[in-house]
């Protein structure tokens, strides 16, 4: 490509945020830029943010959708703190996101959207371009709509269809500014609109027009390049948490030599797991879109009874509805994975925002004494392994397992160094095909190591047995109201779960092991916490971190790890749930850093807060 007297500056990382109306195609622009950067070899992390409404009123702050991506030439863990570049497709997008833009950041505005009506709708009294509030940023006004109309004149398309391509102008311009080739996106457009060649051509024309605008317009005198990242060698794909989690379940079923059953009722932000698994029926995956959350869980219990790797997926409100059914699986001691992609609560809450506020609910949200294992995904690429681990525990120990993800893990993406499928461990099951005593079949005669009961599947002659939610007699599984037996079974169900502590990865310390302060986290705050600890260590601040994947039981070395430090800090996107658990279980005077704003922590925010506590 010609460079026309423009300077190219090499930078280690850049964070770009695209913002516009939810119909403006910002998610698509962000995804395309991300994929191109991934193929180029950058490390990256993304953060989509969209309103709960599919099409909120145009031009309003409520309707603004955004997509943030950080690309870097080094290993990064978060989608960046404050964007260095903000693309705002209208005044509302500007208003909603300007406060995040880094000082002297690049601000690309779709000039054509700054008419009085839109300016007022966004809540501005005067045009922000003239009020002085954009001072301190590098502002580039681009007539995106005018450019689109002119470029697409040759195509016989209705006006609305023409304007829909204006996101391609923005993508073209950003591709120019960051020296990204267009080829990959051109291929993608041709593929997507293979049946509508005119639309494909029009979009490619708009893309090139945006790119050429950068070349020819004097204002864009400076472009940037983020070189390839020095990631560990391997084959990579760009993965989001929902897809990673889905693939983890498919892999687990395959490696357990079982078929996968996924029962679910559509709910944001978990629905994409249902969508993804529905595509892969050739893996013998049965997806069941149930009439409600309860049926989704109940059918999964039925599937588990017959010998499937049974999974039911939902988000917070749905977990509430599944609670009674999970207790049934727990009492019947049937394997079941329950996926909860957490969102802001309570009630309908913030359907499209991340929160870690279901931890206590996962641990304790059932009637009766009903402990079960809880596993949490810590990043989009980790979701695959977290799902695999949840399935492993469920099958090996004949228990329901709650797998926690959240909106940040589910919709964010990052490069994933692909595992060697052959090296994934096979998963054990407790399937039984013959009598387990000379006198007959005892459905609750336990494995002496795992305390798991045998899994007899309908269709197996001679092992016919009945199981339900009434208390069972140890061994026979017959209904029993015997006092000593209930005491024993309650204790046994608890032992079975706490015993898993010996069969999970140990808690690892990251950062400065000689430090006095340990930052203890779980779930999606992994990237932010780790980056904050790295930054502090680089500054010479002594601090370490450890991150729970298993929330119940905790790894058996947890006390040992915690005892090495004088101070424990627990950052969470809730009001202090792990904090309470840690204080109670390890009698440590831990401190929380808590946030429930519907946004995750930025690495800088954690860096500052951790340092503040250390310096107190």
């Amino acid at each position: 490509m010609e460079m026309e007297n423009k300077t190219v500056e090499s930078i280690p990382a850049i964070t770009i945020r695209f913002a516009g109306d939810s119909g403006d195609g910002m998610q698509l622009v962000g995804t395309r830029f991300t994929d191109t950067s991934a193929i180029f070899g950058n490390d990256l992390a993304t953060l989509p943010a969209f309103p709960a409404e599919i099409r909120a009123p145009q031009g309003t702050i409520a309707g603004v959708s955004s997509f943030q991506v950080q690309i870097a030439d080094f290993d990064i863990l978060t989608p960046g703190d404050n964007p260095d570049v903000l693309v705002a497709m209208n005044p509302a997008a500007l208003k909603a996101h300007l406060h995040d833009l880094a000082p002297n950041g690049m601000l690309i505005l779709n000039e054509d959207a700054f008419e009085e009506k839109n300016i007022t709708k966004a809540g501005y009294k005067v045009d922000p371009r003239e009020s002085g509030e954009l001072d301190g940023y590098r502002v580039f006004g681009v007539p995106m709509e005018k450019l689109t109309k002119e470029a697409l004149e040759e195509f016989d398309l209705p006006g609305r269809a023409v304007l829909r391509s204006k996101n391609m102008i923005a993508l073209g311009l950003i591709s120019w500014t960051f020296n990204r080739p267009l080829e990959d996106t051109e291929n993608w457009i041709n593929d997507k609109f293979s049946k509508l060649p005119d639309i494909a051509k029009a979009n490619i024309k708009a893309l090139k027009t945006g790119y050429n605008f950068g070349i020819t317009v004097e204002a864009f005198h400076h472009t940037y390049v983020v070189e390839k990242a020095s990631l560990p060698p391997g084959e990579y794909t760009n993965i989001n948490g929902n897809i990673g989690l889905s693939w983890g379940l498919i892999a687990a079923a395959k490696k357990a030599d079982l078929d996968l059953f996924y029962g679910s009722y559509p709910i944001t932000p978990a629905s994409d797991i249902l969508h993804e698994l529905s595509k892969h029926k050739n893996f013998n995956v049965i997806t069941f879109q149930a009439e409600d959350e309860i049926a989704a869980a109940a059918a999964s219990v039925g599937a588990s009874f017959t010998g499937k790797l049974a999974v039911t997926g939902t988000s917070g409100p749905g977990l509430a509805l599944k609670s009674e059914t999970i207790s049934l699986a727990l009492s019947a001691e049937l394997p079941l994975v329950i996926v909860n992609v957490q969102r802001g609560g309570p009630s309908t809450g913030l359907p499209t925002k991340p929160e870690q506020s279901d931890l206590m609910f996962a641990l304790y949200g059932r009637h009766g004494e009903s402990p079960l294992p809880v596993v949490a995904a810590k990043s989009p690429s980790h979701a695959f392994y977290a799902a695999y681990e949840a399935a492993r525990i469920a099958l090996k120990y004949m228990t329901p397992v709650i797998l926690l993800s959240d909106n940040y893990v589910a919709t964010g993406s990052e490069p994933w160094n692909l595992p060697n499928i052959k090296e994934l461990n096979n998963l054990e099951t407790n399937i039984i095909t013959k009598l387990n005593t000379e006198d007959g079949f005892l459905p609750f005669l336990r494995n002496v190591d795992t305390f798991a009961r045998p899994w007899a599947l309908p269709g197996t002659p001679g092992l016919e047995y009945r199981v339900g939610g009434l208390e069972k007699e140890e061994g026979t599984g017959n209904v029993s109201y015997d006092a000593a037996n209930h005491q024993y079974m309650t204790d046994m169900r608890a032992w079975k779960i706490s015993n898993i502590a010996n069969d999970i990865d140990k808690l690892e310390i990251h950062g400065d092991e000689s430090a006095d302060t340990l930052v203890l986290g779980w779930g999606s705050t992994y990237g932010g916490i780790t980056q904050a600890v790295n930054r502090l260590n680089e500054k010479g601040v002594k601090v370490a971190s450890a991150h729970f994947v298993h929330l119940n039981p905790f790894p058996d070395n947890t006390l040992e790890v915690i005892s090495k430090f004088k101070q424990v800090i627990v950052p969470e996107l809730n009001t202090g749930q792990l904090l309470k658990l840690v204080r109670e279980a390890f009698l440590v005077d831990a401190r929380g850093i808590n946030k429930v704003s519907g946004e995750t922590f930025t690495a800088q925010e954690l860096t500052d807060k951790i340092e503040e506590i250390i310096n107190e």
């Binding site: 892999a251 050739n282 049926a295 059918a299 599937a303 309908p458």
Partner: protein, 338 residues
């Protein structure tokens, strides 16, 4: 493993558990009917699964020497759906009551019927809550005085046959506990039916709602009140067939046989695709009061959920080949870092 005989004695179908319903409960008769039927239905018992919810009837699986799940209140059709779709070779039977099926589990019932899941639902209707000791149920008659309705229930009861037909059920039938032959015949029809079957069985609760179905069981009144629906036969009933059912303007009516031309008498056709007549027959009584139809209301063929789901899996495998994990994790495009 030795070949399992496919005909059994009734005792082969009995589990070793003591049956604990109240003495005189209609459930005993139904259990005997089902065990007798199962012994001779020609399916190996390891392939039979009973699924229940909560209630007196829901203890049923414990008494069958087959596979069984005693699940939670109202959810049996959903659990059974999971069982059936996971293993189409199984013969899956749901045992439920009027509270379990029509109140707390109403949603699951209608969707299992609509989807035509290959499960057979036996709903024992005693028009009362027995296990919780006598509150009114969604099939209790208006004005019913119970512990929770001391001044009489103010609720319109559901008509289970109408509900099932409205929910697109492909097989709908009604029996009564005392009539073992009728029950056996219906069970046989249900077993042979491809898809979901909904069988209401009037069941006497001698403790909390005794004699609720007396009009249909008492020697003095039953002839006048039982309308036996038999496929291909004229629908006449009563002493010497002096009453008949006719369909006028699409609506079923009871007339004196002598008042109508014989050709006008409704000849029952369980295979009629249009559900309107079956629905209209279900409206002849709203509870077991006065002339009440018993037998198979409707039995029509359509694709089952179970088959369709597996059809799609087979098709996917044919089109894409057996799934390979190595390909799956590369399906979004990859790049190499060396």
């Amino acid at each position: 493993m030795s070949k399992v005989p496919v005909t059994y004695k009734r005792t082969d179908m009995q589990s070793d558990q003591e049956v604990k319903w109240c003495p005189g409960c209609g459930d005993y008769t139904i259990l005997a009917s089902v065990q007798n039927f199962m012994a001779e239905m020609g399916i190996s018992k390891e392939k039979i699964v009973f699924v229940s919810g909560i209630g007196c009837a829901a203890r049923f699986p414990y008494y069958m020497n087959t596979y069984g799940v005693h699940s939670i209140h109202g959810r049996a059709p959903a659990v059974a759906t999971g069982v059936s779709v996971s293993n189409p070779d199984l013969s899956v039977w749901v045992v439920s009551g009027d509270g379990d099926s029509l109140s707390i589990g109403g949603n699951h019932l209608i969707h299992a019927l609509r989807k035509n899941v290959n499960i057979k639902i036996l709903m024992f209707n005693n028009q009362i809550y027995g296990l919780t000791k006598g509150q009114y149920s969604p099939t209790s008659e208006e004005g019913k005085k119970t512990k929770s309705s001391p001044f009489g229930s103010v609720e319109m009861p559901l008509n289970p046959m109408s509900l099932a037909i409205g929910a697109e059920a492909s097989f709908v039938a009604r029996s009564i506990d005392m009539d073992r032959d009728l029950t056996a015949g219906i069970l046989e029809e249900a077993k042979n039916h491809k898809g979901s079957a909904f069988v209401e069985i009037y069941q006497n609760c001698n403790v909390f709602n005794d004699k609720a179905f007396e009009q249909l069981t008492n020697k003095e009144t039953k002839v006048a009140n039982r309308i036996n629906l038999v496929h291909g036969e004229k629908t006449v009933f009563g002493e010497d067939g002096h009453k008949a059912v006719v369909i006028r303007n699409g609506i079923a009516q009871i007339v004196d046989t002598k008042d109508v031309d014989e050709s006008e008498i409704y000849v029952h056709n369980i295979h009629e695709e249009n559900p309107s007549i079956a629905f209209s027959l279900s409206r002849l009584s709203h509870g077991p009061y006065g002339p009440t139809p018993l037998g198979v209301f409707r039995k029509v063929q359509r694709d089952t959920f179970t088959e369709e789901v597996h059809g799609q899996i087979d098709m996917a495998k044919e089109q894409k080949g057996e799934g390979e994990l190595d390909k799956l994790i590369r399906s979004l495009g990859t790049w190499d870092v060396s």
